[in-house]
Subunit: 195 residues, 2 copies
């Protein structure tokens, strides 16, 4: 049971954990479900949970001064999602988390996060790597956003996450790539001619 989570942990820290360790960890998480379009977290409230997606899809977004939403991250089965800044600092969240499909997650709150880190060194390591990965991936995305055109970014996204292309509405993918839905539509049309 919950082998998705277990293999996610083992893969991240690149080592096997004991049944006992995993059970301890799992005991610190609780299952929750969200209907499509429901919010896991709303901007302005404090983010007290980090979520591991067991089923379904969701995304985090930030709203700019003009009121436009920008997708920060998608999460489907096997991904973690949260507003790590708010979670660690206990300040108000700047992100919104919303379900795209009916969603089943395992949630861990801050207290249990502390317990996990304090009692099991491998989880301390696990979470440090989680942030590091998040950091590296945003750096990468920023570099791509600055240096590549939308068409190239879309091609790379399609190649990297073919499943998301199927499951995620296009206006959200556009918002992730940093262009308007009309522009993504135009890019897709141009591409379909080339093939």
């Amino acid at each position: 049971m919950k082998s998705l989570l277990r293999s996610n942990i083992e893969k991240t820290i690149n080592q096997i954990i004991t049944d006992n360790e995993f059970e301890q960890f799992l005991a610190l998480m609780s299952e929750r479900t969200f209907d499509k379009k429901k919010f896991l977290l709303e901007e302005g409230t404090v983010c007290n949970q980090i979520y591991f997606v067991e089923n379904g899809a969701c995304y985090s977004s930030i709203t700019d001064l003009k009121g436009e939403k920008h997708t920060v991250q998608f999460a489907i089965e096997g991904h973690w999602i949260s507003d790590l800044y708010s979670f660690f600092s206990s300040k108000k969240a700047i992100y919104t988390l919303e379900a795209i499909e009916p969603l089943a997650v395992l949630a861990m709150n801050k207290e249990n996060f502390q317990i996990a880190c304090d009692s099991m060194p491998c989880f301390d390591r696990f979470f440090r790597i989680l942030i590091q990965n998040a950091y590296v991936s945003v750096q990468y995305r920023l570099a791509k956003t600055i240096s590549e055109e939308a068409e190239t970014r879309y091609a790379e996204f399609s190649k990297l996450y073919p499943e998301l292309i199927q499951r995620i509405p296009q206006y959200l993918i556009a918002s992730y790539l940093g262009v308007k839905p009309q522009s993504l539509s135009r890019i897709r049309k141009a591409n379909s001619h080339k093939k």
Copy 2:
């Protein structure tokens, strides 16, 4: 002595450290200097150090597939800089670190980083916060890059880092903002008319 570093640490973790702790920490770092235009780290080698800038200025950059350099971060007195991804993973660096002015840094290598974290809990915390801050700031910059125009980003940069505007060559600031030097020049000209 080295009060810049000490106050940087205390400010980051939001608590005072003892003379003893600080001396221990300092003993794990070594002083180094670099001439202008010299490299602290070259892309493709492993990054074994994190640097605290005591004097001068430097920057990190990433080179894209077209051979164009994009500035990732500037660091002047009181800032930390490194390729954290390479440092933590021991994989090849994707960034280059280069001195903009004659530079004096305190460097900590990986072994000493481990020692610092293991022997003094407050430094474990310190470095975690350091990554978190780095993560948050890139997220913020990505959001701004996607949602704001270059003119707005430049205005914000000027307001946030007036000192850097004085000290850093404009083509590097342009590269940080994600535009060509000519475009930044155009923006500055347009702004000078408005005032």
